[in-house]
């Protein structure tokens, strides 16, 4: 399993794309998707909602359990992925691509976001 180099990562296993016009795309990592098992339901924040770094902003439900989805940064939700709402298995099959969850206009970000190599080391520790 390889974590794309161009992304940054939270310790809650979200990935964050490089910002374009201050907006980043957020998803969960392949490592997290693998640990959850088959995702069957995703609840995402509403477009326009303000989310806070490190706080729950939605949930991911798998066969065995439900997990909170954490916002990796603080900001305003500008778009959510309707495809993943309709077909949550995208989280498992394409976590870094078609399984993205939402886009956020960043107003503040924590200083503990990880690089790909740091996140890989984090998950292997």
């Amino acid at each position: 399993m390889s974590n794309p180099q161009q992304l940054r990562y939270s310790k809650e296993h979200e990935w964050l794309s490089a910002a374009a016009d201050g907006v980043s795309t957020v998803g969960i990592t392949e490592h997290a998707a693998g640990a959850l098992g088959d995702v069957v339901f995703v609840q995402l924040p509403e477009v326009g909602a303000e989310v806070t770094a490190g706080e729950p902003c939605g949930e991911l439900e798998s066969t065995k359990s439900v997990s909170d989805l954490y916002a990796p940064v603080t900001g305003e939700i500008t778009e959510v992925n309707q495809d993943v709402v309709d077909d949550p298995s995208l989280v498992n099959t394409a976590p870094f691509e078609g399984g993205w969850l939402f886009k956020v206009k960043i107003s503040d970000e924590p200083d503990d976001l990880l690089s790909a190599d740091e996140y890989t080391a984090f998950t292997e520790s």
């Binding site: 088959d38 069957v40 065995k64 439900v66």
Partner: protein
């Protein structure tokens, strides 16, 4: 046993599971495969083709002797003396108060030999209870947990797969029957039992033969789509089939009558003057269940997509708590979340309006249905 509680036991197929890349989980003190790939694909394989399970964590206990039948009639709620040789019975062992200690499958292997199969989590309790209860009988209770590995082949293709590996008369083997035979050169007790709602077989073999049998079944099943399956899909399969799970639907606080399984309790036993452990409290439970059932075990089907989990409250339209979810999961077959729940009798009729499950503060509407959710076509 020498193993410590913090070092889970491993089955004879442990290396195979790791080679297959299984996600392992601690289950009742055993390190067991949770899933090999997608648990939904494993579930679908069992419903439509075939799945191969390692169930070696199950606890085998053998009773032998001239009074083995009488001892089991006294120790269990069922009428085991009436089971024909070669047949099996689903039954329960209750404590003196009528609470369920475990649910069991008991095979009569010979006139004076029974094999009791207990849940892994309760195997020691069952062994201790049987040993104590059989003490006054001319019967020996033997701990055979380390002497068996248990493999299951489940699904519509399972019969064809097994036939290619054995000369045993599988067509003559009825549901809930077992016969000794040779499968892929391995001596086995072949039982037509399972916990999935599909046709299937459970194969009790010596641990040293488990790997040979696993590989033979894998090869014989590959052309028809058999895949290895973990405990995760076993749980969703049994839930769809409306089968109770000890620790969820069945507990020591529950009698068989509370669980809607009063039929397993046989008061009309001909042995021991009709005496058996738990008889009097169970008679009371039977009477209460007939006159005024407190709660009933029902099925719930979601209209939304959020999944109910064990322990969640079932609520009426006015928000009153009317029950509790005991098992819940997304159903791959129905494509919706489902649950089993104990619900107050007045809200337990199929089609009852206004029933919801409190899912983290939101009352999600649910349809009350009779169990099971899924029944295979025969």
């Amino acid at each position: 046993m020498s193993s410590l509680p913090d070092s889970p036991r491993r089955t004879a197929l442990d290396a195979t599971h790791r080679t297959l890349g299984a996600t392992m989980t601690d289950f009742a003190g055993w390190d067991m495969p949770l899933r090999y790939g997608s648990e939904r694909e494993e579930h679908v394989a069992v419903r439509t083709r075939a799945g191969l399970f390692d169930l070696s964590h199950m606890g085998e206990i053998t009773l032998t002797g001239p009074q083995a039948a009488e001892a089991l009639d006294f120790a269990l709620v069922g009428n085991l003396s009436s089971v024909a040789v070669g047949r099996a019975r689903y039954t329960m062992i209750c404590d003196a108060d009528g609470g369920i200690l475990d649910d069991l499958i008991v095979y009569r292997l010979a006139d004076q030999t029974y094999l009791v199969v207990a849940n892994a989590s309760n195997a020691q309790t069952v062994l201790d209870a049987l040993t104590e209860r059989a003490a006054g009988f001319d019967a020996a209770v033997r701990d055979d947990r380390d002497d068996y590995a248990l493999l299951a082949v489940q699904g519509p293709e399972s019969s064809g797969i097994l036939k290619s590996l054995t000369d045993a008369d599988l067509d003559g083997l009825k549901y809930y029957a077992g016969l000794p035979g040779t499968v892929a050169g391995v001596q086995a007790l072949i039982a037509r039992t399972g916990y999935t709602g599909e046709d299937g077989f459970e194969l009790f073999v010596a641990p040293g033969d488990a790997e040979t049998l696993w590989q033979a079944l894998t090869e014989a099943g590959a052309p028809v789509g058999l895949i290895p399956c973990g405990l995760s899909c076993r749980d969703t399969l049994r839930l769809e089939a409306g089968m109770p799970l000890y620790g969820n639907e069945l507990t020591t606080a529950t009698t068989p009558f509370d669980a809607g399984l009063g039929r397993v309790v046989k008061f009309e036993k001909t042995t021991n003057g009709g005496r058996f452990v738990g008889r009097e409290p169970l008679e009371g439970a039977a009477k209460r269940a007939a006159e005024a059932p407190p709660r009933k075990l029902v099925g719930l089907i979601a209209t939304g997509r959020r999944v109910p989990r064990a322990g969640f409250s079932v609520v009426a339209a006015d928000g009153t708590v009317i029950g509790e979810v005991t098992s819940g999961a997304p159903s791959p077959t129905l494509g919706k979340p489902i649950a089993m729940a104990y619900v107050d009798a007045e809200h337990a009729a199929p089609g009852t309006e206004g029933v919801a499950v409190d899912i983290r503060g939101t009352h999600e509407p649910y349809e009350v249905v009779a169990l099971p959710f899924y029944k295979r076509e025969r």
